[in-house]
Amino acid sequence: MQVIRLEKRPQPSQVWTWATPLLAVLATMIAGGILFAILGKDPFEAIRTIFWDPLFGEFSSYSRPQLLVKAGPLILIAVGLSLGFRAGIWNIGAEGQYIMGAICAAAVALAAYPSESVLIFPAMIVAGALGGLFWAMIPAFLRVRFGTNEILVSLMLVYVAENILAYMALGPLRNPEGMGFPGSRNLSQYPAAANLELLPGTGMHWGVVAALVAVIFGYILLSRHILGFQIRLAGQSPRAAAFSGVNPARLILICLGAAGALAGLAGMFEVAGPAGRISIDFNVGYGFTAIIVAFLGRLHPAGILLAGLLMALTYIGGELAQLTLGLPTAAIQLFQGMLLFFLLAVDVLTNYRIRFARREAA
């Protein structure tokens, strides 16, 4: 009788490390196609609408710039998250840090309104990063000081941040000229605070620039800096890290702090540009999707760059499929969840070798 056995590899396979994400995308396309067929859509047309049409289809001049607009915040947040995930520090509250960064940045801009000072935009950047940093420091401090589980605290704080967002949109930050409607002034129409397209028709804004800078810094940090080495060591072998003098508390503060600051920045660029204003439904789940992006990119900055673009494509393609094929939005959400599932499933090939062996007589 043939049985399948898993044999642990002495080293994770280099080939499979990069082949598994591709395999996972392929598997998701097949499973997604079956899902779309069940929903009564032509699977080939649906897959083409999601992955091909946004880039090369008839509406591509509109949808192509959206790729960078959506990928920017995803990449920015995912690079920050990947540092912690590598070290075994699980910050899953990036959505809350994103919201707090946006609120702080918008508050600075609205306090200065209608000044035309060139210092407003830089001040917003600082405020956004600090807002996210502060929100991430809560779970970090509680973990370091009391040993409280950072997964649960950071997640609970998302719900707290959503309530603060609602309070701000209806209260202190509400547009005084908005005739009582909830939501703040539109920052993208306030030149000193607006985060506009840098090159017309590309979707390139300062948030995308920041994301690229974060990718480069992340790469240098992980591959060339002692801190990056400590992060990788702490994740692979906490005991070895302790013996080599890694201070776990410092690592927790740095990893959560960096993730929070980057998520806050992403919120700042979003509120000053594509979203434009603080409103009750400002956050659309980038902080959670970034978790998928981080894993799909193998927690490696270059991989995250590609994964962020791919995930942005599924967002835009999903919207397009909703318009042209009537595919429900939830189907895309499910599609993204499936991608992470398949990735985790095929990941077994990276760390284990599959052996077909004859069962030995007992």
Partner: protein, 309 residues
């Protein structure tokens, strides 16, 4: 502001109802974690249970069948997590997160035609004689059967872990899977059963939200209840008795803040709505600060098991 409108009796009765979904999900997760598996997908399984239960209840007209459907839906989804973590040895934290993201997407897809639909009501049972006791009667003995099912499950799990041989085996698997394997116990099979039980309980908890608490289907109906259930397991130090305390504490805060909102207290609604989450954080901090060195978490919690021979 009119605090006198809040009746303590009704408040306590509502507390029992508010605590039930969290209690159901938490008792399931407690068993899963005692078997050494950390399933962070409770939120996803709960919301899937909520919609599965709702669909079955609406189409069959029976709330009881709805709860059965919810348990099955939750268990099936949890087995996806089981296969990935137990056979394909994926990281449990990441897989649990994936389960939540997947479950939320699945639930909103399944629930498309069910927004605004009315579900069959769940009858309350008045326990004869006992329900006529003044004060205590309305608080304890005039609820729907699921409230008592939740309590019964907590007692059953307590007895199982403490008194049953199978419970001892399950704890052994959770404390040290290598040793349990060496003794000949089927680590993976036991864990899969625990995971399925956890999924079924989370499904029941979700269906309680969509069929009794709310009672209708809206997207995001669970609103973090699954995560609070996870927090309550930690708060309870993995013991069923304390889990009851945690669930009632949380239920009490939820009910109190809703009553304060209705009484138009001079506190912003948003501050009241965020209070259950803040209280959960404070409870977690208080517990971890007090615990000090000796952690009561199961020894093999969150680790993959791969039998090399």
């Amino acid at each position: 502001m009119d605090l006198s409108a809040i009746s303590p009796t009704l408040l306590l009765a509502a507390l029992m109802v508010a605590a039930t979904p969290i209690m159901l999900a938490a008792i399931g997760e407690l068993v899963v974690e005692r078997a050494g598996v950390l399933n962070l997908g409770v939120e996803g399984m709960m919301i899937t249970g909520a919609i599965c239960g709702f669909i079955v209840a609406v189409n069959t007209g029976s709330a009881t069948l709805g709860f059965v459907g919810a348990a099955v839906g939750g268990a099936v989804l949890s087995l996806l997590f089981g296969v990935l973590t137990q056979y394909l040895l994926s990281n449990q934290v990441a897989t649990g997160l994936a389960l939540t993201l997947f479950g939320i997407g699945l639930a909103s897809l399944l629930g498309q035609g069910y927004v605004g639909v009315r579900a069959p009501s769940v009858p309350k049972i008045d326990i004869p004689v006992l329900s006529d006791i003044p004060v205590l009667g309305p608080i304890l003995f005039q609820h729907d059967p699921v409230v008592y099912l939740g309590l019964a499950l907590v007692v059953a799990v307590w007895l199982f872990l403490r008194r049953a041989r199978a419970g001892l085996v399950l704890r052994a698997v959770g404390e040290n899977h290598e040793a349990a394997h060496a003794l000949g116990y089927k680590v993976i099979r036991i864990r899969l059963m625990a995971i399925a039980f956890g999924g079924a309980c989370a499904g029941l908890g979700g269906a309680y939200l969509s069929l009794v608490r709310v009672p209708q289907w809206t997207e995001g109906v669970t609103a973090g209840a699954g995560w609070i259930a996870l927090a309550i397991v930690v708060f309870a130090s993995w013991r069923p008795g304390r889990l009851l305390v945690g669930a009632y504490l949380f239920g009490g805060i939820t009910v109190l803040q809703l009553n304060l909102q209705a009484a138009r207290v001079q506190i912003p609604v948003e501050v009241l709505s965020m209070s259950p989450y803040i209280v959960t954080i404070v409870a977690l901090v208080a517990l971890s600060a007090r615990k000090g060195r000796g952690s009561s978490a199961p020894g093999s919690l969150g680790q993959s098991f791969h039998a090399s021979r």
